[in-house]
Symmetry: C2
Subunit: 207 residues, 2 copies
């Protein structure tokens, strides 16, 4: 039980990575942060609350807009926040918040380029959860109550958005083994076993 | 001890992936095959021995030649062997040999696109070993007795060749987490711990 590490978890849509990350945090007895919880923490800390309004509606359009315009690249540090599109403001606030949360102590952080944001921090473990398309499609059918065709669309579109988001802000390629400490195909094992494997890894580094 | 699995190990140059793979095979009590041992097995089985002559000298040039000419792509099955460049003949023989070895029983196979060649086989575990450039460079300095600059050249060149070889024959991208069951950053742990982690993984799948 317990760990000194900050654990970032990125995942392909439908891989069950969120459940694995959440369960891992529970079993290690440390906090779990996903997008909503990072935003909540940021709001509670007094960061401009209006930025977090309607984010979900605007994030993708704004990101695509920024990408198409080639306007911003924060790959190596950034300073200006003033007139940025709302999703860029959000990224910057999340960036700050993720660093603050990491400084508070061990936790599991889901997505949000956390592996990249914390790459120079000590005691960070970055994990990527992937699975084959069939497995992810079937999970999407089950959990989103959609047919096979729609499930495949959702999987592909969500992963494309995540890959764009990651490469836009990090300048790195999403899902490249090189960027992570541990990548697991969750489609080959139970969720519990995936959590057990990550715990083994964390314990090996903690010892 | 023991496993029912065929384990393929791909690795970045300097990551120590070969040592990890060899030690894993020893600890699991199963056979280990690298390029030389696959060739040896192929020769012993009566496959055209002349193809294996001077392979090391010709493989890269011939591969680059084939790539530049866009002559061959065996991504989805192949049949012709007749007048192929020697490295393509070698690939095809290694391809056949890897399948034969996998059918003989549990073993560890290093490199040679084995993960791709065996992707439709049951009981195959594909592993990728990566590490950051600093770690790999330092290993290259230590084991190849070269200076820092030369070490970086060797690391980059070897990985570029491996990536080309893999993408040429598999049509997939080398080092993409999606293509493997487990990817490990060996630079963060001892070799023994990396082996222990893989054994834990194999045991979870074997149970």
């Amino acid at each position: 039980m317990g760990t000194k590490h900050i654990i970032t978890v990125a995942r392909q849509f439908g891989s069950g990575g969120r459940d694995i990350a959440k369960s891992l945090a529970q079993e290690l007895g440390i906090k779990f942060y996903d997008k909503e919880l990072i935003s909540l923490a940021a709001k509670e800390s007094g960061m401009n609350p209006e930025v977090f309004e309607k984010i979900d509606e605007q994030a993708t359009n704004s990101l695509l807009y920024s990408l198409s315009m080639g306007l911003y690249n924060f790959g190596n540090g950034f300073s200006a926040v003033g007139d940025l599109p709302v999703n860029d403001k959000l990224y910057i606030l999340q960036h700050k918040m993720i660093k603050r949360l990491a400084e508070e102590g061990p936790c599991v952080i889901l997505g949000r380029c956390a592996d990249y944001i914390l790459k120079d921090y000590p005691n960070v473990i970055s994990i990527f959860i992937n699975a084959d398309m069939e497995y992810r499609k079937n999970r999407a059918i089950k959990y989103h109550n959609v047919d096979k065709k729609r499930a495949e669309q959702i999987v592909n579109k969500t992963d494309k958005n995540r890959a764009n988001y990651y490469s836009f802000y990090s300048g790195q390629k999403w899902g490249q083994a090189q960027n992570y400490d541990l990548c697991i195909n969750s489609g080959k094992m139970t969720q519990g076993d995936a959590v057990a494997l990550i715990k083994t890894y964390v314990n090996l580094l903690d010892k």
